[in-house]
Symmetry: C2
Subunit: 229 residues, 2 copies
DNA sequence: GTCTATATTGTGATAGAC
DNA sequence: GTCTATCACAATATAGAC
């Protein structure tokens, strides 16, 4: 993509709202919303600026006026989406609560958060697969300034709890990393693999929604059962 | 992409091999191998015919001579990769063996099969996310002529075993669909999310390999433990 | 079969009017 | 801020020599 260039620009000051009705978003916002939909659907490489412009109801030039280049727009959408995903995962795992509660909280919070925008996990995983070079920046952004401090904190917290329980004889011995990935995978995978799973199991959108309701209840019990001594 | 066109072409007859050394693959094969690598790395939309030509050590025109269009080449690579993935999953789940054995076999076969080409799950999931319209064709191809007959067979088999065990009091009640997705997700997710997981957990390639060795052993025990009454 | 050269279209980006 | 018109180049695909 061509060279970057600086565009001076001032933010509009938001005037006071008179009505309670949802205001029609201005062009800048409509573009960002459209970009989100298109990038999530097509990926960074497959997305077309023209398609975003069409969905936003503006012309291509305006996309560049506000966001300067496809690469910048894509970066912004990706970091936002991936950030939200992490924000839903990491805090639940570092919470200072008994392991049973932590697992249930994590499953509930993740499913509740993601079911509103169920294609984000698939989009983020696809982007990370095709652009693994983005991972360090993402981790730095999502877990605070220190790259993997939070990861280590979460893992160490998990490790400590598991070790204590195992020693007390109230838990089967499991490797924290293995357990962590099984736990996260169990909530992420149904979203990430949604197209193939729903087709394979013959689910429509409503059925997938019921599946998620059921999973919210059943998965914590399944995981906890696996941990019984 | 432009209109298709017919190219008459004859297959080379493979002459008898004199030496045991691996023969240098001919251009047609080198192109397909290169295409596999590039499509898996960049995805269908992100891949460039020029990059494939470079990796194959030929020029772009030859790609079209053998495979006619990018779309056809992409389709071929995708169906092959996805087919292999299914071939590793479905038969292990329809095998006529006790549930314990079935679970262990499935985990072992999947990890053993996929660790040789560990980026295929990420590639296939990404493609399915961006091109869900490919799903029906894939299922038809992967599970035989009748679209979801095999899926239903696998699920029904699982359902029957689970029901029998639950009735006999030797298993906690679980929903077959939930169990199936947890099981598959637990083996697929580590591969599909590899870039972010390895960075998050600070693993290099060797550590990821050790992680897989350990998972082979620990995951079946974890799953079976979850099923205890 | 394989190459070089080229046609053709797609796509991101910019200039400049309003 | 938003538009139309256009540029520049990237990317797929084809023609035709060897």
């Amino acid at each position: 993509m061509p060279t970057a260039r600086t565009i001076a620009r001032k933010k509009k000051v938001a005037g006071p709202r008179k009505s309670a009705a949802p205001a029609p978003p201005d062009a800048e916002q409509r573009i960002l919303d459209a970009a989100r939909r298109v990038f999530i659907r097509r990926g960074t490489a497959g997305a077309r600026m023209q398609e975003i412009a069409d969905e936003a109801g503006v012309n291509q030039a305006l996309l560049h006026y506000y966001y300067r280049s496809k690469a910048r727009l894509a970066e912004r959408v990706f970091l936002e989406a991936a950030g939200r995903l992490f924000a839903a995962v990491v805090p639940a795992l570092t919470a200072d609560a008994p392991l049973e509660e932590l697992i249930e909280q994590f499953v509930h919070r993740y499913i509740d958060e993601v079911r509103n925008s169920p294609f984000i996990p698939g989009y983020v995983l696809a982007e990370l697969h095709h652009h693994p070079e983005r991972v360090p920046a993402l981790l730095a952004r999502a877990t605070g300034s220190e790259p993997s401090r939070m990861a280590r904190a979460a893992l160490d917290g998990l490790r400590g709890r598991i070790a204590a329980r195992v020693k007390a004889g109230t838990m089967r011995p499991v490797t924290p990393e293995q357990f962590f990935i099984t736990l996260v995978g169990s909530v992420v995978f149904p979203f990430a693999a949604r197209p193939i799973l729903t087709a394979f199991l013959g689910m429509d959108d409503a059925a997938f929604d019921r599946f998620l309701d059921q999973r919210r209840l059943e998965l914590p019990a399944f995981i906890l059962s696996a941990l019984r001594p």
